[in-house]
Symmetry: C2
Subunit: 240 residues, 2 copies
Amino acid sequence: MAGKAFVLLSGGIDSTTCLYIAMLEFDEVEAISIFYGQRHRKEIQYAQETCQMLEVPHRTLDISGVIPATMLTDPAIAIPNLSYADITGVSPTYVPFRNGLLLSSATSHVVGRRRETAVHRHEEWAIYFGAHAEDAAGWAYPDCTFEFTGAMANAIRIGTYDEIRLRVPLQFMTKEQIIRHGDDLNVDWTLTWSCYAGGDLHCGTCPTCRARRDGFEAANVVDHTEYACDSAAESLQRAP
Amino acid sequence: MAGKAFVLLSGGIDSTTCLYIAMLEFDEVEAISIFYGQRHRKEIQYAQETCQMLEVPHRTLDISGVIPATMLTDPAIAIPNLSYADITGVSPTYVPFRNGLLLSSATSHVVGRRRETAVHRHEEWAIYFGAHAEDAAGWAYPDCTFEFTGAMANAIRIGTYDEIRLRVPLQFMTKEQIIRHGDDLNVDWTLTWSCYAGGDLHCGTCPTCRARRDGFEAANVVDHTEYACDSAAESLQRAP
């Protein structure tokens, strides 16, 4: 459609699939990565590579310094050796209101861009956000729930004079469904990065690595990822 | 009440009145100022002075760099010589999604603080925000409307595991009503700053100076503010 889409692109499976979806739905697409101090900075390099390959403009906003230290940003805190199924209550990798900040920063940027551009009052500009059902399940990440994204969609639309809308196409999909859908769209998975630990290879044992591996297996899609720890059994042996 | 309130304190009339209200309503109160690149940086000094006087802890979060350049942050762009009544449609002093960013940054900070603190699961922690009826009128600042703050209240509550609530006590009050109410609470108006222009004195002609002067007059409260331009007539003469 006419208009412009801005995709919040972390470089992982979900947001990369969002980018491919946005490219089907909008004539013009750009990608925004947000550096909030995450130690797994590598994901932004993967985001860049995907954008280069797809010839999509890419930009990184730096909001580090605003978010309090957590295990995703502070190398002194260990990443837990868990799968999401083991987590109840507040996830240890919850970054305080991270997605509120990501969406607000992106919105502010997109409104600024729209102000610089000659654009028809009713042309739709959209922000794509890759929250999905498994992040939201059990309120592990409350800022991935439909209740949260719905509230933010309202705040964004209202707070921008109705100029910007939020789209969350994966909201009700599982990782397995996302990988199957992305594979249909020919997503190049080798240009995606999931690991929280920040090493050279995917560690294979952090919650997102486990979700990645399990997702490919469940979707019956070949997983070309090279994991430092290749099996759950091995990772349990190596756990401290 | 038991619990803790964090007041978004710009140093102006509205947020300072909010601080006094929060101190009536909560046993523990802290103030947060946010530097987003505003040229009227002076308002933060006034916020600090009010906090010193009231013995309220005060802290400044720096989110400059995230917000695109506008006339409130870029000295190269002139502040308009207008009253709010002259403004229709998008206000020239609208900062893209500013309040979404302010509220998200404050929420992220407050969640981080709560994580460091031994606190009962159901103890209420609140963020006070000084949006009011005249900022919202005619959608001049859409991110001050009840629709926006209501959506953000939901996003904040949901996105923080129900731990943080947003309070917007001035949402339906005019500047006149706020000044009358604040005066009843003995707000020290000499420690508040409204001007957008960033000079030594209140300029007397920018939209917020006009709202300040008109507000005191309408509320029938003595205005001790020293304005560089003392009357609307004079300011019109001086206008370029």
